[in-house]
Symmetry: C2
Subunit: 338 residues, 2 copies
């Protein structure tokens, strides 16, 4: 089969690779229907995370079951399935507590920009749709496997409630899906921090009521202006930089909440500032598995359309161009069709 | 009148001071019934916080209303009142959100180890009891004005629920009151980290089910042993040091919560560690005012007896000895009788 391999910053190659095999009775092999490039893939691509030896890339997937291990009874060959970037047995204590992305047997997916993918913990990870959904739903279902699940988690961790004022820091695919989530959870006002006109437009279509283009202290001041001087009830931090985290924490009102879902890079939170802010902080890799049945239903019933975050579609073999377009911010998110 | 003044680390003097006066129409003057020394008073006493010019000390109080400003209608001369270490108008947006200790007009109390005290924002801050409570209740009600309110907030911020496993880091008065709170909120298991036998004993009497004497990574390992390998649902951080915060964060299970109420000193939380832990974190000065009616009721009906944290009673004029006994850990908390 063929798949994407990163060799060095900026160096993604589409190569012939061994077909994946069942290695454990709980594995499944799927044939990818569509896959994509994630904002977090840009960290190593930009040289901001170590790469080490050349390795495959990709952690988002929907596809058709090709083969299952002997322990897998939840899905069967031929079914269309959606999973999560973090696999889970869905039976351990952490899974039962709803934190499947902290499963005691978790393995992070990392080989999905390819024709075929091995899914560990398939029994607890994969959710099959009733019948094969129309191709028009594939991008939305693919988004559910990571960015939509992550945006939902950001809003959930930030405790968005009906009538809440929500701020979304970050206008990437996750931030935009965070807007969808905040809207679905009933936020009365959704303020998106964005400087990019096409993303502002999509954010408004997803439900954003206000756009703030300022950053840093000026951005915080604008949020305060828009929230009666005290800050927002719920802030979704969807970037992962120190600046974005500071922006998020200072945009929340006393007693408000920040849900942070961008993998933090060089972020340290000052204990005394957090203390006097009274802001609640929770983040982590999204427990997508918890949300899958609900989010799949919202996509298939047409209630939400997170597939719209894909504004560039390329054949899988052009994966390198997909990275480059996102790196140069020519694309929000690249869909890859095997 | 007379009151405590700190001049330098270790140097508390009992001095003649000007009687407080109504400075603003929302002020009240109270005659203290009892007052006390707080663990947080030890930070400057130990030279760990700058003192600057000599200044009065004390932020915990119950007493009798002597005089009220023209705007104060909620309490009247002669009533027995309880307040909070943080004053609040109880009408601003932050107060309405339940975060009265972040009131837009907040003033922190700082002159309460004295015969008389001026209470700013008295209208929103003070709660009067129906009749003057018997003296046996005064220590408990005094505890409510800070340490019991703070222990309650720690348990609330840590989201203790019926059946939860709770860990309390810190065996000072706040930690011990945190045990009372966790018990009242229905925790099924309450693990206290303590190395001091008299405090362990009191913790058990308040409802602790387990005591862990280890600290650092060994302490975390013990907590994991006691919690099925994953950590506790709710952790109350009642110290404020970097070590205690680390202990707390690592003792919580994925998806669990840490409520931190010790004023952080040189604490920085690593963003990536917090992220991958999935632990929720919220702290701050306790919104005691939110809890006052309920906690006063629990004390006066005998449901809780947080006054037991006072294990040394001295006349106010011996306030210096009260500090010294706590500094040397001869006393958990010193009650001062004017």
């Amino acid at each position: 089969m063929r798949g994407a391999v990163i060799h060095a910053p900026g160096d993604i190659r589409f190569e012939n690779l061994d077909d994946p095999k069942i290695l454990h009775p709980a594995d499944a092999i799927i044939r990818t229907a569509v896959t994509c490039v994630c904002g977090s893939d840009l960290w190593p691509y930009r040289g901001l995370e170590p790469i080490g030896e050349a390795h495959p890339m990709g952690h988002e997937y929907v596809g058709f079951v090709e083969e299952v291990g002997s322990e897998v009874t939840a899905v069967r060959r031929g079914q269309f399935v959606i999973g999560s970037f973090a696999t889970s047995d869905n039976t351990c204590a952490n899974c039962r507590n709803g934190f499947q992305s902290n499963c005691l047997h978790r393995e992070f997916m990392s080989t999905c920009q390819a024709d075929y993918v091995r899914i560990p913990n398939a029994q607890g990870t994969l959710v099959a749709t009733g019948e094969t959904p129309g191709e028009q739903f594939w991008p939305g279902l693919l988004a559910v496997s990571d960015v939509m699940g992550t945006g939902w988690w950001a809003a959930d961790a930030a405790e968005v409630k009906p009538g809440s004022t929500a701020v979304v820091v970050g206008d990437g695919a996750v931030g935009l899906c965070g807007v969808i989530a905040a809207k679905e959870m009933g936020a009365g006002r959704i303020i998106v921090m964005s400087r990019h006109e096409p993303r502002q437009k999509l954010a408004r279509e997803f439900g954003a009521t206000d756009i703030v283009t300022e950053r840093g202290e000026e951005g915080v001041a604008r949020i305060k202006d828009l929230t009666g001087g005290i800050g927002a009830d719920a802030v979704l931090e969807c970037v992962g930089t120190a600046q974005a985290m500071q922006q998020a924490l200072r945009s929340a009102r006393p007693g408000g909440n920040v849900g942070f879902v961008g993998v933090p890079h060089d972020v340290a939170v000052d204990g005394q500032e957090l203390f006097f802010s009274h802001v609640g902080l929770r983040g982590g890799p999204a427990p997508v598995r918890r949300y899958l049945p609900d989010l799949i239903d919202r996509v298939l019933t047409g209630r939400i359309d997170p597939g719209r975050v894909f504004d560039l579609t390329l054949p899988l073999e052009q994966v390198a161009e997909g990275y480059q377009a996102m790196d140069e911010r020519r694309a929000i998110k690249t869909l890859l069709t095997p």
